[in-house]
């Protein structure tokens, strides 16, 4: 699993990459009350705002961490946004993206580096 400075995690699963937010991010956000997901088939570029999360505190965007095509979204989050707080690293993944090129995850942090990053 790799981590971004924007507090997202990425996990390779066959030929797609699964994306979610870290426990640290879900704690900082507080109770999540609304999630808006992208459409399957959308072509995304690294840095695109692809998901909107609203918590009791504020609205946040999740950005595409890599270039590629959205192949699957976790629709369960739309009805149960609280899952983002309960299981951010597991059940509450946001979307799967098929990378346009290999190697896009290489520069992201591993778990130890991310732990240092959030200090």
């Amino acid at each position: 699993m790799k981590f971004t400075e924007e507090h997202e995690w990425l996990r390779s699963d066959g030929d797609v990459v699964v994306v979610g937010i870290t426990e640290h991010a879900s704690e900082q956000l507080g109770d999540v009350v609304f999630v808006e997901l992208p459409e399957v088939g959308t072509q995304v570029t690294k840095g695109d705002e692809v998901v909107v999360i609203e918590s009791v505190k504020a609205a946040s965007d999740i950005m595409a961490p890599i270039d590629g095509e959205i192949t699957e979204i976790n629709e369960a989050l739309v009805d149960e946004p609280g899952k983002v707080n309960e299981d951010p690293l597991g059940d509450a993944w946001f979307f799967k993206v098929k990378p346009s090129d290999d190697g896009q995850m290489d520069d992201y942090m591993d778990e130890d580096a991310y732990k240092d990053f959030i200090g």
């Binding site: 924007e6 507090h7 997202e8 937010i21 991010a25 900082q28 507080g30 109770d31 009350v33 609304f34 808006e36 705002e49 909107v52 999360i53 609203e54 009791v56 505190k57 504020a58 609205a59 946040s60 965007d61 999740i62 950005m63 946004p81």
Partner: protein
């Protein structure tokens, strides 16, 4: 995720204060004031944020949602010591203070009974609201509680406007709020006698924690009390309250969602110098005696505007809004009359997800002709016009002990 995340139009707002604290890298907590309960908040694991110049708890371990629900189900303890407590005296006693103060607020203070409290607001010459406040007849003086962010201005305003009165800021007392259906039972154990108080009653009581100034009021839509206690007893008193299993500490986050469900205005957001009391739906706080035809009609700043609007209505009104779906319409969201085209007809001044309501809720201003309950409107969220319906306030019925 995008840090800092997108929140529109909340520069002075609670949300942006929360953002600053949660996401800002440079906290300048050294420059912030601390309430007498500061050490207790930290010990209880609160997330502290700068708010109105104070380092305040925005949430504790339960989190905003559960803290909100706990307050509605049992009892919540809030530290509101950042608010201004002010005593106003005149040589000739309460009547003289009340008469003078009626020159600053459109409220009947001469008609306020001893040990009773009234809500009101300081107005400006345009009929706008400088601050909202609670005022109490304490027999030989007037006791006033004002918003933290406005207190220096309010005190200067009173000193200038009440030249024959002594305006004393009380700085050696904390202010706590105990709110929720269990508040009465809990406080009665510590301060016997509070049970007999009715909504908006005020009492000075002796207790194991020194002299307390207690009012049966609050900012949550629940029954409860606000308790002024000497600063050096505040922590012991708070610990005694928290020792009850029905009492949890509640932060500013839940305070905001509770008051919004209760349809209560937050100064600087839902009301400010550009909104009149009539536009804001606060005309109920202006007694008949201060209105046109009353014995003490007018005589406060902006009376011509406010009395005129009381007669013929305001051009715009504060309304409740229920957005469709689950996405909150936050402060600053522009409101439209149609799904496409046209200029904005209004704006959201507060918006959040209502934990008790189980749905998003907002308050905002719309033209009078679009203010009727059931009127369909559209709020532009992230570039899309989302439907919302004008709704009655409060969103969650109040639970006061009248």
């Amino acid at each position: 995720m995008a840090w800092p995340e997108r929140v529109r139009g909340t520069d002075a707002g609670l949300i942006s204060q929360i953002k600053l604290a949660l996401f800002g890298r440079n906290r300048m907590s050294d420059a912030l004031s601390k309430t007498p309960l500061h050490a207790l908040h930290v010990e209880l694991g609160a997330k502290m944020v700068p708010f109105a110049g104070y380092d305040m708890p925005v949430q504790y371990g339960l989190g905003v949602m559960k803290e909100h629900q706990h307050t509605r189900a049992a009892a919540g303890l809030f530290d509101v010591s950042h608010m201004g407590q002010v005593i106003v005296r005149a040589e000739d006693g309460y009547k003289a203070v009340a008469q003078a103060m009626e020159g600053l607020v459109p409220v009947s203070l001469l008609g306020l009974a001893e040990n009773r409290q009234r809500y009101g607001f300081f107005t400006n010459d345009q009929g706008g609201i400088l601050d909202d406040l609670m005022m109490t007849n304490r027999g030989d003086h007037l006791f006033v509680v004002v918003n933290a962010a406005c207190k220096a201005d309010d005190i200067a305003h009173m000193r200038a406007g009440l030249p024959d009165c002594a305006v004393e800021e009380i700085t050696d007392r904390a202010l706590l709020a105990l709110q929720g259906p269990q508040a009465e039972a809990v406080l009665e154990e510590i301060v016997p006698g509070v049970q007999a108080m009715r909504f908006m009653d005020v009492a000075v009581m002796d207790s194991a924690y020194g002299e307390m100034w207690i009012s049966r009021s609050g900012y949550t839509g629940e029954d409860g009390y606000e308790i002024s206690v000497v600063a050096d007893q505040a922590e012991a008193f708070a610990r005694a309250l928290l020792a009850h299993e029905t009492v949890e500490p509640i932060g500013l986050g839940a305070r905001d969602s509770l008051r919004l469900e209760g349809g209560l205005c937050l100064y600087g957001h839902d009301i400010d110098t550009t909104t009149t009391p009539v536009e804001a739906g606060l005309a109920w706080a202006i007694q008949k005696v201060r209105r046109a035809g009353g014995d003490r009609a007018g005589g406060f700043p902006g009376a011509d505007v406010i009395l005129g609007q009381l007669e013929s209505g305001a051009p715009r009104n504060r309304v409740g809004l229920r957005p469709e779906g689950r996405a909150p319409m936050r402060e600053g969201t522009p409101l439209f009359a149609a799904t496409e085209g046209g200029d904005p007809v209004g704006i959201v001044t507060s918006g959040a997800f209502g934990p008790t309501l189980g749905a998003p809720m907002s308050m905002g201003y719309v033209p009078h002709e679009l203010s009727e309950t059931g009127t369909p409107l559209y709020g532009e969220v992230r570039g899309k016009r989302m439907p919302a319906t004008v709704a009655d306030l409060p969103f969650v019925p109040a639970n006061f002990k009248r």
